[in-house]
């Protein structure tokens, strides 16, 4: 659906990450973890296309949705100056979302950078399903680390990593996660979101591990609804491979489906 959602809050949460709270009861009701909103930054030819952002949380009760975004370029820079009370033209919720397993498995969430956003929403849902949730979250440095604790239920075990060692484990979130595996963690399912090389590395490792692993991918998008095939990535289904739109068939895919 297309909607003008009201900005109820916009807060700087690190030097270049923002937290955006949008009011839109219907969207809030319909959203599931892994889905995203396709937002028109402003009514202007610049920036030209909409920008996709994962839904980092939805509260049907309050009729609100959360977005956490990083200032990456012109569009997000302009978005960061949106003010409370203004309206944003949003298309969504879009995409297919995560498909957690039924039953009381351990869930491991692996996040790189702002890729943590959709996993925050997922984590809440998993906890509601009485699952034990481990989050492995890394960023380049302490200043880049989003204070995720404040967006998560207390039950979740959070493991932090920074590439420069300025906070938590020194290294990548994937390395931290692998260490946990070596130390005996036995996840029943894995969810990951982050830079492409990170996801690719996990998917390659998982050929051996063979966990149920779902990855949330990013690709340049135009329509956001599956009409233009602009965001297609190569996907394997059984013996066949073919291009599938990230916006509609994804953004979440099983790790063994993605052809890198």
């Amino acid at each position: 659906m297309l909607s003008r959602a009201r900005v109820t809050e916009i807060t700087e949460i690190t030097s270049n990450h923002y937290y955006l709270l949008l009011e839109d009861p219907q969207m809030a009701r319909e959203s599931i973890p892994g889905q995203f909103l396709h937002i028109r930054i402003r009514e202007s030819l610049a920036p030209f296309l909409r920008r996709p952002f994962s839904i980092a949380g939805a509260s049907p009760g309050e009729g609100t949705l959360k977005i956490i975004f990083r200032v990456a370029g012109e569009g997000t820079r302009i978005l960061s100056s949106v003010r409370q009370g203004e309206y944003l033209d949003c298309l969504g919720p879009l995409g297919s979302g995560f498909k957690p397993l039924k039953g009381p498995v351990f869930s491991a969430l692996v996040a790189g950078g702002v890729g943590v956003a959709p996993l925050l929403f997922l984590a809440r849902t998993l906890v509601q399903e009485q699952k034990k949730v481990f989050l492995f979250y890394g960023a380049s440095s302490l200043g880049e680390l989003i204070p995720v604790r404040r967006f998560l239920p207390g039950e979740i075990e959070i493991h932090l990593a920074t590439e420069d060692g300025s906070g938590g484990f020194r290294g990548l979130a994937t390395a931290l996660f692998e260490e946990a595996l070596r130390n005996g963690l036995k996840p029943g399912e894995i969810f990951a979101c982050g830079p492409r090389p990170m996801l690719q590395a996990l998917a390659e490792k998982n050929r051996e591990w063979d966990y149920p692993m779902q990855l949330s991918l990013e690709e340049r998008m135009a329509c956001g609804i599956g009409a233009c095939q602009g965001c297609a990535v190569k996907i394997r289904k059984g013996e066949e491979t073919g291009y599938r739109p990230v916006c509609r068939n994804g953004p979440v895919f099983y790790s063994h489906e993605v052809v890198w």
């Binding site: 610049a46 030209f48 599956g226 233009c228 602009g230």
Partner: protein, 304 residues
Amino acid sequence: MVNMEANLGPLKLKNPVLTASGTFGFGEEYSSLLELEKLGALVVKGLTLKPRQGNPAPRIVETPAGMLNAIGLQNPGLEFFLSKELPRLKNYQVSVIVNVAGDTENDYVTLARELSGEEGILALELNLSCPNVKKGGILFGTSAQTIDRLVRKVRQACNLPLIVKLSPNVTDIAELARAAENSGADILSLVNTLRGMVIDITTRRPFLGNITGGLSGPAIRPVAVRMVYEVYRAVNIPIIGMGGIVSVEDALQFFMAGASAVAVGTANFIDPYTIPRLISGLHSYLESENLSSMEEIIGLAHMV
């Protein structure tokens, strides 16, 4: 009373605002957002004989007031279209125009023949911006000679109204328009995308998987309007104008330049309601200007 019908020679449409091929899929994705029956016509994405995978990612990139795409004609092929997409489309009261593409003249001819017999297809649009494999990859649409041969053959193979879609990447669009008219096109549509590229300065390589892509959106509108204007002077068949239309004012420019209908492509991605908005906006325009139909403004910019 205002008459919104579009008169495109053998093709009559309930209103003059169409989807541009490749930007609206087979209509399914947009059907939950808007009523397809409102569209002047649904021009489906480029169809080929066999299914096509399309180009490697990335396939699109934003550019100033526009975008490049290199989808590579990803589509499920004729058979799937006839067995799955077309029957589904029949559930809507929408005029369906099929955009076809091929690597050889035979591809086009076969597609035209097969589609010609099918109920529920109103017209055929030939996308000439495809590499002619027989001619060493030169695009069909860039020489009067290839256009002439191809259009004649297709004309013979099908009895549907024939729209020939022209590429703007040419020195003399009027010459090619005349070639298409003389060899049997009923309608011309223009423009397709301008060839462009973006280089990713971090990897120092072309950004798109396909290296180059097609530029669409408002950035190209002045070029598109100019070409419609030139073609209107050169031919006597109706024109469907497109290229960067976002607003009612943009659409009016195309009508005044000589288009009898317009198509909307890239703007759908930004505002999925663009087409219904234009239809009602054109309606209001006619009313407020005391005009009875769009016919009254077609080609007005040529008057002196």
